[in-house]
Symmetry: C2
Subunit: 198 residues, 2 copies
DNA sequence: TCCTAATCGATACGAGTGTATCGGATTGCG
DNA sequence: CGCAATCCGATACACTCGTATCGATTAGGA
């Protein structure tokens, strides 16, 4: 079934999008090209063109691919945690790249974030994902017995997310080691829980 | 003196680099092109080519241009502050875009940071600038009477810088308003100084 | 004055881009 | 067994890109 109507459309699309992500991770967003992606996926340019009408569709598919990968990563990290504090810690730690695969994934995310400064569609999607994550963590903490001393759960969470994102950027740029970033992140988390009755 | 040897080389170079920054701010790093920059600077492509041997030189000049602009901004912000705590606060607040010009400037910085994930020369320069800023703030706090409770000045500062960078990214992506980001940043700074005898 | 070096506009070339289009291959259905 | 729908490889076209190159212009020293 290498041709014809029997092809599993979504599988092929996903494979091409995944190859596009690898390409972006290694060569930057500028390499997001029909022909380059085709070469990276080991596929003819015509095939890529068949599954994606234009360059924007290819870009959005690649973005969805990383976003789903990140969501899956977060989900498994959450699955292993029990208490709400552990869930929060796991989610935030997942934003710091420690191994090669996480490094690549977060490099792709960083590339798309800078693309989003120009492409409004990407900015919207990133905002939605960010708001979703924030709401999830907010529900998590509010449904538990945890109450933050600042009486401002959303603000504190947003600050924590900003810290994690900043540390992630530092690691990606080689300004900080993953271990150091994780330690600093843990300090911020501990500060947040300080003086809180669980 | 529109031609000939009498031209002020550095002035022309600077003007072209500044125009390149405006272009990057408005259209992203992908617009960093000889012809586009020439058009943005109101200059013939040949002139740009004359002052910059290749695209990399143009990119580095544009990067230096923003870096100097940021340094100047920080310097004036520091000049208005008296106490070391105020200096630190001023530096960190300068990383959050509040008006249009700061917005544009930080957009350019963000674009170059994502470019640095691919271009090693940029990564090196950013690391150097970051280390320099960190060392400056460290000296500032250590030479003053301020001692951090965590007994880990560098780590705390790095965490604070990460928070500011993360908040800056949130503002750039429209996930947070400048005022909100400034408030969250202030909270982080206050937490840092909590329990510290000045 | 004139001549050398700097400046710069214009043009050209090859590579790479997005996209349109065509034709053959393949498959599942009637 | 057709046959229509899908799949996809190939090609073409009009662009933009970086870069090389040439010639004209200009300024300042000899």
């Amino acid at each position: 079934m290498s041709r014809g109507v029997g092809r599993d459309h979504e599988t092929v699309r996903g494979a091409i999008a995944a190859a596009a992500c690898v390409l972006v991770a290694e060569e930057g967003a500028g390499a997001l090209t029909v022909r380059r992606v085709a070469a990276a996926a080991g596929v003819s340019p015509g095939r890529v063109q068949h599954y994606f009408p234009d360059r924007t569709a290819l870009m959005l598919a690649a973005f969805d691919s990383v976003q789903h990968a990140v969501a899956a990563e977060v989900t498994t990290a959450v699955g292993e945690a029990a208490a709400p504090e552990q869930v929060l810690t796991a989610v935030l730690r997942a934003m710091i790249p420690t191994d090669d695969t996480a490094m690549r994934r977060l490099r792709v995310v960083a590339q798309f974030e800078s693309l989003a400064l120009t492409e409004d569609i990407l900015a919207t999607r990133i905002r939605e994902g960010h708001a979703e994550l924030l709401a999830f963590l907010e529900r998590l903490l509010e449904s538990s017995r945890i109450r933050l001393d600042s009486n401002n759960t959303e603000g504190t969470l947003q600050g924590l997310l900003a810290t994690a994102e900043g540390l992630s950027g530092q690691v990606l740029l080689g300004q900080s080691s993953p271990d150091r970033a994780l330690a600093l992140l843990q300090t911020s988390i501990d500060d947040m829980f300080r003086g809180v009755a669980s």
